[in-house]
């Protein structure tokens, strides 16, 4: 079966009955439209923007003017609209349904935040305007900093990182600079990272030339003080610990671990990806944290946008604050806000450098501040409580059918199951995830954390109603029972109702096709 573009729509070997059942002339299925690449429907004769011819001018391009336009087709405006709307309809978002992707915190994205970020006074402002003309933008940064410092109980914050992993870089750079300032730069070169950590943690440490040592995973999902102490020594620069951790648990010995680390001369980097579980409940500063990034796109709901942009401000202890990179905002004696932009002088005398061209993610600062102002202090606390409550409700409601690696202890904002309950069914965690797609849900995070076999990490967030949670629970229970009674067909072919069936990732990696190329004319 070929579609309009001559592309096969049904794999060879599919039974004629099912082919006939699914047949449409176009290959479309009502609202599910096949959408070619824009290059296949566009042309270089069209343009979706009306541009006038400039007044005659003498070019001053030296000898570097291109002989011809770049070979990229365009679409007219209506075609562009339809192309991208059709593409959007092949995507699942939070606004589509429950998106319990553990560790990723897919909560409601208020449209008020979008409206605020698009005010011309924020969106249409250049980063290098005279500071007298951007006092409102600097005030947003100042107010955001105040909220972050109050919520974390920390004395300083560096706003500029563009995402969580960028924040990790900042935190470890500050630690490395502080250690070098102590004269231990040559000797303290180990960073301890639990096996359950996000991949960005070891990647960040290694990028900065640290040696990464693993803290082993234990049966209870926690990092044990004894294990950390046995690794401590004059070579340990820092530990990177996620709290609540990636198993969805508050680290029970975190205060003791921080104290032992500090006593041994190391710094405590906290991966704040899961801060959303404890906002208004526990201040990381009270736990002994020296540096922690905060994913504004998770905890404070600036949208994920299909993989970014994010923002990853880093709160810092007194010891690390002097090493924070430029730029940062300061209040002058006259009450005017100003930007410190040069490392190595004045207040930035010990700043370790710069991490991005301008001042960070203003668009995300506005959205996060809008989210904070909307909630208020008590609303943020309620949001964390609801997130934890909802995760435990899911956990408790599935505990009799699924298996939890760490028993029936309460979790924080995400519930973790393993695949022991799938033993003898012939099914995998991936099969469950794909069957959930057919049920109309985005799957949970699967196979992470790595320390739990066949992990299924469910994070409902505070944004789900009880009706929504109950439907998810009922669907999961139905799938679990189907799996246990051997109804493999419901899983192994899944998803059946998504725009595409399972994709061949091996083929994509073996013969990488990473861009469209113009088909060669047939001789």
């Amino acid at each position: 079966m070929l579609n309009r573009q001559g592309r096969p729509t049904i794999a060879a070997g599919d039974s004629p009955a099912s082919a006939a059942e699914h047949y449409t002339f176009t290959g479309n299925r009502a609202l599910q439209q096949i959408e070619p690449l824009l290059f296949e429907i566009g042309s270089t004769e069209r343009c979706g923007v009306d541009l006038d011819e400039p007044a005659p001018f003498t070019a001053r391009l030296g000898a570097l003017e291109a002989a011809a336009p770049v070979d990229l087709p365009a679409l007219s405006e209506p075609e562009t609209m339809r192309h991208f709307v059709r593409l959007s309809q092949k995507n699942y978002g939070i606004d589509t349904g429950m998106f319990p992707l553990g560790s990723c915190t897919m909560k409601h994205n208020p449209r008020l935040n979008e409206r605020m970020a698009r005010l011309p006074g924020f969106a249409d402002v250049h980063p290098l305007q005279p500071v007298a003309t951007v006092q409102g933008a600097l005030a947003v940064m100042d107010q955001l900093a105040h909220w972050l410092l109050t919520l974390t109980g920390m004395p300083a914050v560096a706003l500029s990182p563009k995402a969580g992993a960028h924040g990790e870089l900042l935190g470890l750079m500050a630690i490395k600079a502080a250690i070098a300032a102590r004269g231990e730069g040559e000797t303290r070169n180990v960073v301890l990272v639990p096996e359950s950590a996000h991949g960005t943690n070891p990647a960040t440490a290694a990028l900065l030339g640290f040696r990464v040592k693993s803290v082993p995973a234990r049966d209870d999902g926690a990092v044990h003080l004894d294990d950390v102490v046995s690794l401590l020594g004059p070579d340990v620069a820092a530990i990177m610990l996620t709290n609540p951790n990636t198993c969805g648990l508050f680290e029970p010995q975190i205060v003791e671990i921080a104290a032992a680390l500090h006593a041994a001369g190391g710094y405590f980097y906290c991966d704040g990806a899961n801060f959303n579980a404890i906002v208004g409940k526990v201040r990381p500063g009270d736990l002994g944290v020296d540096a922690m990034h905060i994913n504004l796109h998770k905890t404070f709901s600036t949208p994920h946008g299909g993989g970014g942009p994010g923002a990853g401000p880093v709160v810092l202890s007194e010891l690390l604050a002097p090493f924070a990179p430029v730029p940062f905002v300061r209040k002058g004696a006259d009450g005017q806000l100003t930007l410190v932009e040069q490392a190595g002088e004045g207040e930035a005398a010990r700043a370790f450098g710069r991490l991005t061209a301008f001042h960070g993610q203003m668009g995300m600062y506005v959205r996060a501040l809008s989210f904070m102002l909307s909630h208020g202090g008590e609303g943020l606390r309620q949001a964390s409580e609801d997130a934890v409550l909802s995760a435990n409700y899911v956990r408790a409601s599935l505990a009799d059918l699924l298996t939890a690696p760490f028993g029936d202890r309460p979790c924080m904002h995400e519930a973790l199951f393993d695949d022991a309950w799938l033993k003898d069914t012939g099914l995998t965690t991936l099969d469950i995830a794909k069957a959930l797609i057919d049920e109309g849900f985005h799957p949970m995070t699967v196979y992470f954390p790595l320390v739990v076999h066949g992990a299924m990490l469910i994070e409902p967030t505070e944004s789900e109603s009880k009706v929504s949670l109950d439907l998810f629970i009922a669907a999961m229970r139905d799938l679990a029972m189907a799996a246990k009674r051997g109804d493999a067909g419901r899983f192994t072919g899944a998803p059946r109702h998504a725009p595409l069936r399972r994709l061949d990732e091996t083929r994509a990696a073996r013969q990488p096709v990473l861009r469209w190329t113009r088909p060669q004319p047939v001789a």
Partner: protein, 453 residues
Amino acid sequence: MRYLPLSGADREIMLARIGVSAVDALFADAPSECLRDQAPDLPRRKGEMAVERALGQLAARNVSAGSVPFFLGAGAYRHHVPATVDHLIQRSEFLTSYTPYQPEIAQGTLQYLFEFQTQVAALTGMEVANASMYDGSTACAEAVLMAQRITRRKRAVLSGGLHPHYAQVTRTVCGFAGDSISSLPPDVAASEDIISQIGPDTSCVVVQSPDVFGNLRDLAPIAEAARRAGALLVAVVTEAVSFGLLTSPGAQGADIVVAEGQSIGNALNFGGPYVGLFAARSKFVRQMPGRLCGETVDAEGRRGFVLTLSAREQHIRRDKATSNICTNSGLCCLAFTIHMTLLGGHGLRQLARINHANAVALADRLAALPGVTVLNHSFFNEFTVKLAGRDAADVVERLAARGVLGGVPVSRLLPGAGLDDLLLVASTEVNTDEDRAALADALAAVLGEIAAC
């Protein structure tokens, strides 16, 4: 609270199912002395109107670029973004989706990333492009790290025409990574001899064109010299609209091209979020940082797209990854892709011609003022003027007081470099003849009121 769907009754039922009497029982692992019994000392919640009022007041304290004659560039440019772009990127399915780890329900994101990669590769003249970095400056640092992985050499040479903030980001990141960076002094006239800096230990040379002073640089001889020495040429572009009119870096022999993509589809946003473009020769693809989207088929043989070659990435390789990047600039890529779809190659060329024509008109107008010299022999939409002994930062402040945002003083980027009388001025398609006249008149008046320093 309007964002929280659970009612008090719901919470009671849920607690009962869990088997605890209060939510604090779920926080039992937190040290009791750290568990706070009251809400933080922060303002109470606000309704939509109150938030709009509070943030609206802050926004009103900024001078927005569109409200005045506006000529700033230096790595961030004000262009017109078609209404279609902003409407489409606010589609729920794009805005509220995640990194496309479940490809069956993320083909929308994956297909536009494939289209984005195709557009970026074509614009830069390279074979492959990734699915974006945070911005041009972080892409620049990543390119230097990549060159060092490929060449196994440790010294990068940065041109004096590279945006100073890009140079600082690169020095910071690569310095911590243990690599050495040689930066050439600020090169206002594009006359540096970078080729003589290339040695057997050089991993790459990093050259920006148009450079931070606006000059266009011929990359071909540098690429050739680098190739002979076994080093790579990293080309940097901070104004993506220039791709429409200039010979691509790839065609001039660049091995890696990084660029700031903000100019296409994205607002100024006071510096972020922006979108870093990253492209390279295909033989280097396995050393690239960041996500890559590739074509494949589904179980029924239909074309589809997935994230691929992830064995380079942190979530698979952890401490052996090519970069620590995870979240990138997805939605800004989408804005870029939609705007580029509307433009196409021809439209972009026309847009670039208008930019160049406007800049030429402005340069001619400013050059006619006494005490103003345009330093560039060549430029695209931005150039450097010398203000005969005046402090350009002071001039810019005075222009702002007269309601004109007149450019970026070089001293803002390079304080203490002895370049205090230089002003960077950009003109894009948004500027009118009236804007240019306003700048020229205001500049003449300001230069008249301050004595040469």
